[in-house]
Amino acid sequence: MKIGRQIIRPTLVLTAITVASVFLLSHVERLAGPIIIKRARQKQEAALSLVLPGYIVLSSRTIAVDGVEFTYWEAEKKVENRTVRAYAFLTKGTGYGGDMVMMAGVDEKGEVLGLSIISQSETPGLGDRCLEVADRETLWDHLKGGIPERDFSDATRIPWFQNQFKGLDANEKIQIVKRGDWEPGMRDGLLEINAISAITGATITSAGVVRGLESGLDRLRRAREAAAAEQTGGIR
């Protein structure tokens, strides 16, 4: 009797409560789940079009490099009757808050076309500024109805930290310098030395992104070699 009252009954009551709440939650999930999946896909597509501007994506592949899954996309575009190829890939870098997932695009000559950070958990106010968009509209402007000549094009909505990766040479080592927040005027000076300007107070985050990009480029090279070897093998 004692066992019944002390163990079995509480167990049954708790189980009933848990089952009821999980049952209700599964309905909420059925509502929200597809939207979450759709958003994730949209996010990936947006990132793809950002890191492969103007290119048409042909195919995507996921293969194992060093025992780690590696996903990359192949794309091309026509420039003056010539087809230019480009590649995009997913890669990870380590910051202070764990892994940062990012996507980067590079063309056949090794010029970085763009970089987009997909997920990160860096310190708010420091490392998490890698997603900060530089915006010149002030609160007063906004209350007055916005700046009339404000540029709403997508180019200005790219976080400044990611914007500076465009045009870097992937075949050479990417330097990290400390020149404060990046702005378009700094582009030429930095590209000359193949460098990015680190986020103030978050050098490790900036370095993590660069390391992630470099390891991704390395994996891409090996993945393409493996794919090429496979193809010639198939023909033979």
């Binding site: 025992g67 899954e69 764990g98 310190t123 107070g201 978050a202």
Partner: protein
């Protein structure tokens, strides 16, 4: 290479992303148990133990039970129940096996269930990608993060207790006593800890 990764996780959870002073987790025990140095040490050790154990146990539950069945959205409800049961179990085990240890640590254990740093480390392990498919040595990374989180918490708690024992005899304006002065001290400590954020590992 992998050793460097572990050292990075450990040092960054202790110093750079200190759970109390930078992530601002576990503030209730930080305020409540930081009056005396020895009770701060006891609480800290209990938290280190529970956080490491939580990381160890939530890893297989998430990776091999929740994700394969497509119910990863239930993590909040599952993790909090697991932590509550775990703390209860540890309390019983400690009481049975070592009454002396129970005398010094046991009283802190019930407080730990609602310590947000413990649930925090479990959720952070998921969010920082350590439990993702294809992450090598994920279990070790989770446990190192749990260990580091606990050590960081203990470090902050002990420093705070040391300062507060002296503040007891200082003359502070009446209205600043208690929580306000503790938060000012915590702010100064947090400023000092930001000195670590440029540290290269």
């Amino acid at each position: 290479m992998e050793i460097r990764v572990f050292v990075t996780i450990l040092l960054s959870t202790i110093f750079i992303n200190n759970y109390v002073l930078s992530r601002m987790l576990g503030l209730c025990p930080f305020l409540g148990v930081s009056k005396k140095l020895d009770s701060a040490l006891g609480m800290g050790l209990a938290v280190i133990f529970v956080m490491t154990l939580t990381s160890f146990i939530t890893y297989p539950i998430y990776k091999y039970v929740l994700v394969p069945n497509g119910i990863a959205y239930l993590i909040t409800i599952v993790f909090i129940l697991v932590i509550a049961a775990l703390v209860q179990f540890v309390e019983m085990a400690v009481r049975k096996m070592s009454p002396a240890l129970y005398q010094s640590l046991g009283i802190f254990l019930p407080l730990i269930t609602t310590n947000c740093a413990v649930l925090g480390v479990a959720v952070l392990n998921v969010r920082s990608g350590f439990m993702d498919h294809g992450t090598s040595l994920g279990l070790m990374k989770c446990m190192v993060q749990g260990l580091g989180g606990g050590i960081g918490f203990t470090l902050a708690l002990i420093i705070m207790a040391g300062i507060r024992e002296r503040l007891e005899i200082a003359e502070i304006p009446e209205n600043l006593k208690g929580a306000p002065i503790t938060f000012i001290t915590a702010g100064l400590l947090a400023l000092a800890f930001y000195g670590f954020s440029g540290m290269k590992i």
